[in-house]
């Protein structure tokens, strides 16, 4: 079965996000006075073959834990769905 995993990688709450701060400053300069805080993360989509949803989930978890996110700086959220022919 083909699965699609979507991994959202964000900086930990207590880690400063220079990129987010820059975007925040730009939005304020554009006149969006209500902007309080901006955090920039990463969105990763990946497709994989696995014998079962549980196996796909554990493979994707391992990918996120070992490579896609660095636990010192980042956390991740993972969602998984059957992909069919979706690319």
């Amino acid at each position: 079965m083909r699965y699609k995993a979507e991994v959202r990688v964000t900086l930990r709450r207590d880690v400063l996000d220079p990129q987010g701060s820059a975007v925040e400053g730009a939005l304020r300069a554009m006149g969006f006075d209500g902007v309080e805080r901006v955090r920039v993360g990463k969105w990763i989509e990946l497709w994989l073959e696995a014998p079962s949803p549980a196996d796909a989930q554990s493979q994707a978890e391992e990918m996120a834990r070992r490579l896609l996110a660095n636990p010192v700086l980042e956390t991740y959220q993972l969602t998984l769905k059957e992909a069919g022919d979706d690319r």
């Binding site: 930990r12 880690v15 220079p18 070992r66 490579l67 896609l68 010192v72 700086l73």
Partner: protein, 259 residues
């Protein structure tokens, strides 16, 4: 360590790196590494060491007394600097070498790879001001009783260039306290007279950290490029002491203890 080709070191290396022992260095090359020739130049031509390049697919580093991970942009710095190089075959061999007490030195991207590999604590985040910084910096030597810094005086300020976009050292408060308590910080960004001022910190690193070592004291990482500061014609010879310290340790089996 012993070896029939090695002779004793006759005196302290000065920043010019006058050492007489010979050790065997492996200089790792990942796709995108670009400072390996500079490191070879220093080790071979200036310090007369036995040094060779090692491709990232190598699985055995047994023959080297020391392994250097040079700077560059391994895998284009994609995802995170050092993240993909960390999963290449040679890193398993780096773990084995570290375990055996061999010296491991990571410079710039090499430092990033060592933190990604968990051989050094913390992480190197995007520079606080988002700019790629390239220029001369001053770093203060915090300890001299290590295999990497014994050629220096405690508190000595070195003039060494940096060149990075992700050099902003981060560790969570507990990890940072642990790093400080164990005295793992070897170099801090400082003013030319050794003051830790805000403007002397080029990238926002916590506690001005420019270089650290592991708990065991045989793995070091630093963001500045010592290999670019080993010849007067390049503007500084201050970086040479890192390599000279390593050579002394490897050929004499101990550090200098010069204070």
């Amino acid at each position: 360590m012993t070896g029939e080709h090695r002779e004793g070191v006759t005196g302290l290396p000065n920043p010019r790196g006058e050492v007489s022992g010979m050790a065997k260095f492996g200089v790792l090359v990942f796709p995108g590494t670009n400072c390996e020739i500079d490191v070879l130049r220093v080790l071979r031509d200036l310090l007369h060491q036995d040094a060779e390049l090692v491709w990232y697919e190598e699985r055995d580093l047994e023959r080297y007394d020391a392994v250097i991970l040079p700077g560059g942009f391994s895998y284009g710095d994609y995802l995170r600097a050092g993240a993909m190089a960390r999963w290449t075959p040679v890193i398993e061999a780096v773990y084995a070498a570290a375990e055996k007490g061999r010296l491991i030195l990571g410079i710039c991207n090499g430092f990033q790879i060592l933190t990604e590999a968990g051989l050094l604590p913390g992480a190197l985040q995007r520079n606080r001001h988002l700019r790629y910084v390239c220029g001369w910096t001053h770093v203060r030597v915090e300890r001299t009783d290590t295999p990497f810094t014994s050629a220096y005086r405690k508190g000595q300020v070195l003039r060494i260039p940096i060149s990075h976009g992700e050099g902003n050292f981060y560790a969570d408060p507990d990890a940072l306290a642990e790093i400080e308590k164990r005295g793992q910080v070897l170099l801090r960004y400082a003013t030319p007279d050794g003051q830790l001022t805000e403007t002397a910190n080029p990238n926002g690193s916590l506690h001005h950290i420019a270089g650290i070592m592991n708990k065991a004291g045989n793995v070091m990482g630093l963001m500045p490029h010592p290999e670019r500061a080993c010849e007067a014609v390049l503007g500084s010879e201050d970086g040479c002491g890192i390599f000279a310290s390593m050579i002394h340790y490897l050929t004499k089996g101990r550090v200098f203890h010069v204070g």
